[in-house]
């Protein structure tokens, strides 16, 4: 198994603030489904920023798909992120004024690589989006609806389709189930697993909700990963 993502001796602090993250070693394998546990305030958001190349570590290496992010210029990092990472956020992460299909296709507008891969696999962008949406349980009659006309659960499935289109190597899901009721959480995660498998993507699932952890290949606690020990915030 080769690593999609690897962190070595990574250190990060916000300007004029004490060290926040100090991660000696961390790897995510191709196709792996990882549950990253982290309560709020544990540096979770900052870590996601680092993975996306929004912030750069002061120390250490962050390699994504074989490329060291810190060696890229900001514009190239943006490009690289668009090509290789799909994001799913908590909720309201669709553009309300676009229809469902328009939202799913957004990454293909900004990443030629993902657009090309989607076309390659499904013939056309629309087919690729429709295929993903149908697999995630959104029937065709919903595809032309405005995104904000859907229920929260449906919106999250649209967001998942958007993250998966064009088969990026890494899917980062940041608390994607927190707005869903308990029964639909597991269903959503299973759908997500299936699609990640089909696309050959690794999944990094970030949540504080431990009840979901047993479903994953591996569970990592950010507080144990991080050498900076911090007093537990309330």
């Amino acid at each position: 198994m080769s690593a999609v993502l690897s962190l070595t001796d990574l250190q990060f602090a916000w300007p004029q603030q004490p060290l926040l993250l100090d991660i000696p070693q961390f790897e995510l394998q191709r196709g792996e489904r990882l549950f990253l546990k982290g309560p709020s305030g544990s540096g979770k958001t900052t870590l996601l920023g680092l993975l996306g190349g929004i912030q750069l570590p002061q120390q250490g290496q962050l390699t994504l798909h074989g490329t060291a992010l810190s060696q890229l210029k900001p514009a190239a990092r943006d490009h690289f992120r668009a090509d290789h990472i799909g994001y799913i956020f908590q909720q309201f992460n669709l553009l309300p004024f676009l229809d469902v299909l328009g939202n799913v296709l957004l990454p293909c507008r900004f990443s030629q690589r993902r657009a090309a891969r989607a076309v390659e696999r499904h013939g056309s962008l629309e087919n690729a989006a429709a295929h993903l949406l149908n697999h995630l349980g959104l029937p065709s009659e919903l595809h032309a609806r405005r995104a904000d006309a859907l229920s929260i659960g449906q919106q999250q499935r649209v967001a998942a389709a958007r993250a998966l289109i064009g088969s990026p190597e890494l899917i980062i899901a940041d608390e994607p189930t927190s707005a869903l009721d308990y029964d639909s959480r597991e269903g959503f995660i299973r759908l997500l697993f299936n699609e990640c498998e089909e696309a050959g993507a690794s999944l990094m699932f970030v949540s504080h909700d431990q009840s979901l952890a047993p479903l994953f290949d591996r569970v990592v606690d950010l507080q144990q990963l991080n050498r900076v020990s911090r007093p537990q915030e309330v």
């Binding site: 920023g49 929004i54 490009h79 668009a82 994001y87 956020f89 309201f92 676009l98 507008r109």
Partner: protein, 421 residues
Amino acid sequence: MYLLRLAFASLANRRFTAQLTVFAIALSATLLLAVERVRVEARMSFANTISGTDLIVGARSGSVNLLLYSVFRIGNATNNIRWSSYEHFANHPQVKWAIPLSLGDSHRGYRVLGTSAAYFEHYQYGRKQPLELATGRAFGEDLFEVVLGAEVASKLGYTLGDEITLAHGVATVSLQKHDDKPFTVVGVLKPTATPVDRTVHISLAGMEALHIDWQNGMPAYGNAKISAEQARQMDLQPKAITAMLLGLNSRIASFRVQREVNDYSGEPLLAILPGVALQELWSLMGTAEKALFVVSLFVVLTGLIGMLTAILTSLNERRREMAILRSVGARPWHVGVLLVLESLLLTVLGLVLGLALLYLGLLIAREPLLSLYGIYLPLNAPTPYELSLLGGILLAALVISVVPAWRAYRQSLSDGLSIRV
């Protein structure tokens, strides 16, 4: 191209504010264009008040003053010129034609002009258009005949054959009326959109007959009165006129004849070139005209600042939108360009609506403007000048849009992918 569609969809989502912004820009553009169109047309019709005349000659005073009373029928002459002087220059070898003008009386606020048949033959306005009669004929058969300008006839409701009484002096409320010598309407001129429309034309002899029994500026009483019938039998050669218009054989002679008039030893006279004097007069009014232009420019600026405010206000509540775009791969400059496109879209829509409003307004206001103020507004396509004004507005919008674009760019750099509510 996709960004443009995105900008449009985002605007459509904020339809209400977007519509208001578009409307504000439209109104300001309409105002600017309307002011400009009226300004250009007013200047044009002003410059077209008189044409074909090479020299205007009057008693020595200022050139603007002479122009005002001889062409615009505003104000009064400081002095008359002798009939002998008129004859001297009318018979000058370089002079092709001469029109005598005699002013001083009025009819219900409209000036009375005493002149000769040459007036109807040689007087020109606009692009060398001669005067034309709408109905009737020029005066000439009888002493007490009058030809009315178009506005006089339509405002006062006169038709051919009506009898009117002229008043002494030019006050609207005249105490002394020439009611012993009524005039008959024999002709009405077609509209010219010049002061001719507001003029009552009679013959010089008729003008003379009105005042033949006057002494020391007062009408005669009792036996000294001369009736209209008696006047018809008398020699009515005027002794003086107010001004004259000269047409020369060649325009090149203008300066020479002008100098000759100004150096005339018989009496102090002044000759002016109408074009030069018109320009001089227009430059006097130019300040007001420029002020109007500046005011409408500020209205446009207000419209654009309104747009800036609307977009800046929306930025904060659209942080989520920006973060989502960033998470799907949009670069910060994409976000900036998105906002520039948004401003341009609003402005273009505003300008298109503004043009539509302008033409709607022109359709409605054309007739009243022409009949009330004599300003003719053509319903033509936007002139290159007007298009350049619209282009200027668009350019200003582009410059202004840099502000929200820069802010959104900075914002999306610092926010990154984190979505804040």
